[in-house]
């Protein structure tokens, strides 16, 4: 396990470095001068030069990269051109919305998806299975932002149960969570549909294994065999897919935050795009990459902890 862990950590760090190089290259080297982009086509060369100098953009690329990474490791992400304030606190406050939203959506997807998937696997080929699978097809086909608009239409416009959008802040936790429920449902439904499908096929595969027959022969009840033997053996593919899907969930959050006017990371990035605030976008994208790569690292480790066979590949 230690060898495996060491290998995964080395790969994790290498991937992060590679990701930072890619993001840096795309955001800074390709478009020419970020200061020019920020100030627009009407800016004078002097103004561009002054802003370049202020933001440290006139330095050679390797030094800028070193500054960026060095600063990031100390929690200093540079200055936002549009907000005129440090980027790190801006991103931190947006994460206070986006992180709980993503976690709520993922939790919803896990609970609904696992339950529905195990149910469908248990009743495979029967009506219950067909109904669950039909719903999951629809769940995957419905765009999350359209579902978000429909939820607003039903619960805010028609029933007037919740506000149509906005975020009251965490000083009022009950209302804050209330404001995140509809966005979390909009985000979670697609993921739940995907988790359902993966769970169903993984559990069906586990149900066909010899140990299931052994468990039933020993007198383990059908229900106990399903939940205690089949599901744990099906967990590795489910966890892996959920880890991979997290990147899509975060991307979906960018759109859904926009529907509900939530001051999260997605909205910050979109506003920064229209403000031409390239540095904020760069750091935002990098942060999302770190989260996604980090989560998949954790999933890999978790899978190895669940399934010893996966560790053997390292030896």
């Amino acid at each position: 396990m230690l060898l495996y862990l060491g290998q995964r950590i080395a790969l994790f760090v290498a991937t992060l470095i590679f990701a930072s190089l890619v993001v840096f290259a795309v955001m800074q080297i390709l478009p020419g001068d970020a200061a020019e982009t920020m100030l627009g086509p009407t800016a004078t060369p002097e103004a561009v030069a002054a802003l370049s100098h202020k933001l440290g953009l006139d330095l050679p690329a390797p030094i800028r990269y070193a500054h960026w990474i060095g600063g990031a490791l100390h929690g200093d992400l540079g200055l936002s051109y549009a907000y005129g304030s440090p980027i790190a606190p801006l991103i931190a406050s947006s994460l206070a919305v986006s992180a709980p939203l993503s976690l709520m959506a993922m939790a919803l997807a896990a609970v609904v998806g696992l339950a529905a998937g195990v149910y469908a696997a248990d009743r495979r080929g029967r009506a219950g299975d067909a109904i669950v699978m039909g719903f999951s097809q629809v769940g995957i086909a419905v765009p999350n932002f359209w579902l978000a608009i429909l939820l607003v239409l039903v619960f805010a416009v028609t029933l007037r149960l919740v506000p149509a959008g906005g975020f009251p802040g965490w000083h009022d936790p009950a209302r804050a969570i209330g404001a995140l429920i509809l966005p979390a449902i909009a985000l979670g439904v697609v993921q739940a549909a995907i988790v359902t499908r993966v769970t169903r096929s993984a559990v069906i595969e586990a149900l066909n294994e010899d140990f299931m027959r052994t468990a039933r022969a020993k007198g383990v009840s059908r229900r106990a065999a399903l939940w205690r033997h089949a599901l744990p053996n099906a967990l590795t593919p489910i966890l892996t897919i959920m880890g991979l899907q997290f990147a899509n969930l975060i991307a979906g959050a960018i759109v859904v935050e926009n529907v509900f006017v939530l001051p999260g990371l997605g909205r910050l990035m979109l506003q920064s795009i229209s403000n031409r605030d390239t540095l904020v976008v760069e750091n935002g994208v990098m942060l999302l990459a770190v989260i996604v790569i980090g989560l998949n690292f954790v999933v890999d480790i978790a899978c190895a902890a669940i399934d010893p066979r996966l560790r053997a590949s390292a030896a």
């Binding site: 790969l11 991937t15 590679f18 990701a19 890619v22 993001v23 795309v26 955001m27 390709l30 478009p31 982009t37 097809q137 629809v138 995957i140 086909a141 419905v142 765009p143 999350n144 932002f145 359209w146 608009i149 429909l150 607003v152 239409l153 416009v157 028609t158 149509a164 096929s201 069906i204 595969e205 991979l244 990147a247 899509n248 975060i250 991307a251 979906g252 960018i254 759109v255 926009n258 529907v259 990035m269 979109l270 920064s272 795009i273 031409r276 390239t278 976008v281 994208v285 999302l288 990459a289 996604v292 790569i293 998949n296």
Partner: protein
Amino acid sequence: MTVSARFRPRGGVSLWLGATLVAVLIAAAVVSLIWTPYPPSAIDIPHKLAPPSHAHWFGTDNLGRDVASQILVGSRISILVGVIAVGIGLAFGIVLGLIAAFSKGLVEDALMKLSDFVFAFPALLLAIMLTSTFGPGVVNAIIAIGVYNVPIIAKLTRATANGVLSREYALAARAAGRGPVAIAIDHVLPNIAPALIVQATIQFAIAILAEAALSYLGLGAQPPETSWGKMLADAQNVLYNAPRLALYPGIAIALSVLGLNLLGDGLRDALDPKLKARS
């Protein structure tokens, strides 16, 4: 074997329902090239937000534009983005996947790690990066979605090609002195084509969803182009006055994606019966 079992159509309900929905989508795009009830961008303020009627099947939007015409025309962008983005994915993905499968060792490892890495950047995130540097537009949206498709196709190509390369006929071709390109064209591609077709169908659906999301955010289709995603963004502004405007484009997107996914499932069952039991 009974007669009915032998002649049962392969693929079943999924295939036919999916094929029908996709045919409707393509038909809408083709029809919109020759005819729409009204010019889709024609503004008619006196008749704005009109309810569905004989003159306007789906009513009009906040600028008096005919919604039915816009829905018809919107199918074009969805198909355009899907075809080109999936085409990019297939063109680069198949080549990279084949290189990985034939080369083995370090090159294979490097290519697959690279694929895993790109996988961490969903199409939407790539598009946001591209549009923040090159500006919003359909072309950048297509490139971003296309780049996202490359690793998915590359991984599938490598995995399925490896299976073919370990078969006797591929080994025999190699022993007979045939080069990798000849083996790839004669033996590998025909055998992995079904898996690629199925995956391309599913990626097409994902491309439509991504394009809709980008256009909704204002990063995809720009005025005067009509896109279902952009129609939803417009509809959200008049949600209190005309909630039905938020229904039509969403239904159009959902039915297109559902159709493509069902078609993909049905094709997989029809083309590769071995996979049927697992799905």
